[in-house]
Amino acid sequence: MITFALRRLLATIPTLLVVTLLVFGLVRLLPGDPARLMLGESANPQAIAELRTQMGLDRPIMVQYAAWLADVVRLDLGRSLVDNASVSRIIGQKLPTTIELSLLSMLVALVLAVPAGTIGAVKRGKPIDSAVTVFALAGISLPNFFLGILLIFFFSVQLRWVPASGYVGLLEDPLRNLSLMALPAITIGVGLGAILTRYLRASLIETLSQDYVRTALAKGVPGLAVITRHALRNAMIPVITAFGLQLGTLLGGAIITEQIFSIPGFGRLLVDAVSTRDLPVIQGVVLIAALAVFLVSFVVDLLYAAADPRITYS
């Protein structure tokens, strides 16, 4: 297991290096001078020259990359151009909120996908299966920003069940935090749940045709027990992998949702940084998002290998 983890980690390093190159190049290699981009077209030349020196833009590009990478490895992502705060610290402050939102969204997605996917697979070809398929397709096609607005309209404006926006920390007031996070979590969770429903339905259909399921049924194990105890457990393995691959969807959803519901998280940080042209923050957010994707796919692979002893790294 440890050998597997180490080899998997080593194999990641070249791609990870290319990611750092891309994130670095994103700001440095695209047309336009970053210093001018940050200060705006009307900035005076001296201010631009000063910022260029401050950012090290007057040095050769590979030297700049090496210096930047050395900082990144030490978790130093530079300083915000808006308030000179450490980018790592800002991101560290915003991340927990987004992680909470992501976990709640995953919960919503599972609550929707497990029953829907199971019913679709078990009642394959029946009207209820068509209903599941249509629900899943609609869920995938419904933009989360429209869903968020619809939820605010029905549950905040019409029914007045929950506030339309705002944020209170989980530790400050857990109940109020959850009532404020409910709509955002549903906003992200529905789309994610729709994707997972499709995966689970397909995976379960395959599992249900396996011999061991037929054996269990032939032995007289009740249908529901076969599904929950045998089939669903095995069918969930590829679904968990799919879950890991959807982290990008989750983060994309968080950007939009945090904007709609005024949640001060990681996604909102990116949008704010974009509007103030805070390039170090943009760069930091993109890098951390990519690292999160790597980390999650690494953990998912480990779980997968732990769950299925046949998997080895070659």
Partner: protein
């Protein structure tokens, strides 16, 4: 080589001749996919005919009718500047479909070319191209699109470019895998053995065999591109006012949700319908042309 004439009568009567024709027949029998196609055709017609069929100008301001509800003069109401919502939703279709089509065509061309060459040539070229593609895939789609749009600057061309860049890696990965699979097959070996040059084998023999898979990917990528465009303009990073875009219309409507909710319904429904239609067509094409991934 001996040429033999195949008697026409050996072909079963009424059976479609080529895999393409068979695929199209399957596609046309799929009611959901056809529904999607019809919705797409309607929106395309609206987009093309926008200047002819819209009752008002797309930026025609009317301060005496601010945020008016639906009425015979303004079927979908008016916005915060008194502009006709129906007109702006119809013009919005132009932006959505232009960005969707434009970015996917670029991504399809560049991504497929890179993937085909990587798979065919192999070696260091394959290694370099696929490492870069893998790295790009590690960056979440919308995060990268937002960063690119922000750095390039918000306008129509840059929106297309940003979405094209983030849509490229899946095409490269897909075609590379397909080319590797085809390379091992007899007809490619035969073509090479007969002295065909690499490029000719790739374009004349391999490409036609993997084209259907590329087209299926393109239709699904377009659904994602249309969503991405509206997300970018929702965040103010897409086309700029007064050009109407569904995403920016939705963003504006948020401020009037308590009093004029219809301002949100029309652009939101339009995005939903177009993305749904693209997904229906994409699923239909996949079921019709790609038997390996045919869903239950």
């Amino acid at each position: 080589m001996v040429r033999t004439r195949t008697p026409v009568t050996t072909k079963p009567l009424g059976a479609p001749a080529s895999p393409w024709a068979r695929g199209f027949t399957r596609f046309l029998r799929n009611r959901l996919a056809l529904t999607g196609l019809v919705i797409l055709l309607i929106f395309s017609a609206l987009a093309i005919l926008a200047p002819v069929i819209t009752p008002y100008g797309m930026a025609e301001v009317n301060f005496s009718r601010l945020r008016a509800g639906p009425s015979p003069e303004h079927r979908l109401g008016t916005d915060e500047l008194g502009r006709d919502t129906l007109t702006r939703v119809i013009y919005g279709a132009r932006i959505s479909l232009t960005v969707g089509l434009g970015s996917v065509v670029i991504a399809m061309f560049v991504g497929s070319l890179l993937g085909m060459l990587a798979g065919f040539i192999g070696g260091w070229f394959d290694e370099v191209v696929m490492r870069v593609m893998d790295a790009m895939l590690a960056l979440p789609f919308l995060v990268l699109a937002i960063a690119l749009a922000a750095i390039l600057g918000p306008n129509l061309q840059n929106t297309i470019l940003a979405i094209a860049i983030v849509s490229t890696p899946p095409f490269a990965r897909l075609t590379r895998g397909q080319v590797l699979g085809e390379k091992a097959r007899d007809y490619v070996q035969a073509s090479t053995a007969l002295g065909a040059r690499g490029m000719r084998t790739l374009l004349r023999h391999i490409l036609p065999n993997i084209l259907s898979v590329i087209i299926v990917q393109a239709s699904l990528a377009m659904a994602i591109a249309v969503l991405a465009e509206s997300a970018l303009s929702f965040l103010g990073l897409g086309v700029q006012p007064p050009t109407p875009s569904w995403g920016s219309m939705l963003n504006t409507s948020r401020g009037y949700l308590a009093t004029q909710p219809w301002m949100a319904f029309s652009p939101g429904t339009a995005i939903f319908l177009v993305v749904l239609a693209l997904n229906l067509v994409g699923d239909g094409l996949r079921d019709a042309f790609d038997p390996r991934t045919r869903s239950g």
